[in-house]
C-alpha cells in the first residue's frame, strides 16, 4: 500500500536546514557556551535521520552520497594530526595554541587549534551514528 506523506516530506525539506544550521551553531559555540563537537555531530546525524524517515534509504543515499566509514576515518585522522602537529613545534603532545587574526568578513577572531580537534570529533560522531543507523535500516 502506498501512503501519501506529502506533509511530512514538505515539512522535512524546511526543517532539515533549520536542524543543520542549528547544529553548525552548536558546533561553533562550543568554546564559550554549551555545545561542541559531540552535540553538533549528534544534531547533524538526527537531521539526516529525519531525511531518512521522510524519504527512503535510496533517495538519501543518492542525494547525500557520503561514505560514512570514510568520514569516521577522516575525523580520527584529523584529531590525531592536530595532536601530533604540536610535536613539530617542539612542545609536548596535544599542546594547543591560539592567536588572533583579522578575518575578512568577521573582524578580529581568535582561532584555536582545539577547533580542529573538535572538527575531528564532529566527523567521527556523524560517521559512527550514521553507520549504525544505515546498517540497521538496510537490514531485512
Amino acid at each position: 500500500m502506498k501512503t501519501n506523506d506529502v506533509i511530512l516530506q514538505t515539512a522535512t525539506k524546511i526543517i532539515f536546514f533549520i536542524i543543520f544550521l542549528f547544529s553548525i551553531h552548536i558546533f561553533f559555540a562550543g568554546h564559550y557556551t554549551p555545545g561542541g563537537g559531540f552535540v553538533g555531530g549528534l544534531l547533524t546525524a538526527s537531521g539526516i535521520v529525519l531525511l531518512l524517515l521522510a524519504f527512503d534509504l535510496k533517495t538519501v543515499m543518492t542525494s547525500l552520497p557520503i561514505n560514512y566509514t570514510v568520514m569516521t576515518a577522516i575525523g580520527l585522522l584529523l584529531a590525531l594530526a592536530t595532536a601530533a602537529g604540536s610535536i613539530v613545534f617542539n612542545v609536548p603532545f596535544f599542546t594547543h595554541a591560539f592567536d588572533y587574526f583579522e578575518l575578512p568578513l568577521l573582524g578580529k577572531q581568535s582561532l584555536h587549534t582545539a577547533m580542529l580537534f573538535d572538527t575531528g570529533v564532529y566527523l567521527v560522531v556523524v560517521g559512527v551514528t550514521m553507520t549504525i543507523i544505515q546498517t540497521i535500516g538496510a537490514d531485512d
Partner: protein, 94 residues
C-alpha cells in the same frame, strides 16, 4: 514576580504528572505516543521556566534541541505505527 514563575512551574509539573498518568494507563499505543509528545512539550516549558528562575540563558539551546528530538521521536514512532518499518529501503517499489 518570581512567585508567579514558581506557581507556573508547579502547575506545569502537575500537568506532567497527568501526562505520565496517560502514558501509563493509555489503552492503545497511539495514546501513549501522543502523551509522550505532550510530555516533551511540557518538559520544554519546564526548562524555560527553570532558566528564568535560575537567571541564566545557557539552557535556551537545550530547549531547541529537545524540541527537535521530540519531533523526530514522534515522527519515528508514528511511521512505525503507520508502515511497520521506520526506515524504508526504497519507497517507490512497494
Amino acid at each position: 514576580m518570581m512567585t508567579f514563575f514558581w506557581v507556573m512551574a508547579f502547575l506545569i509539573s502537575l500537568s506532567m504528572l497527568a501526562f505520565i498518568y496517560r502514558l501509563i494507563i493509555g489503552p492503545s499505543v497511539h495514546d501513549r505516543v501522543v502523551a509522550l509528545d505532550s510530555l516533551g512539550v511540557a518538559l520544554i516549558c519546564m526548562i524555560g521556566i527553570i532558566s528564568i528562575l535560575a537567571g541564566t540563558n545557557f539552557f535556551l539551546e537545550i530547549i531547541l534541541l529537545l524540541a527537535i528530538l521530540a519531533f523526530i521521536g514522534t515522527v519515528a514512532f508514528s511511521k512505525f505505527l503507520e508502515k511497520g518499518e521506520i526506515i524504508q529501503r526504497d519507497n517507490n517499489i512497494s
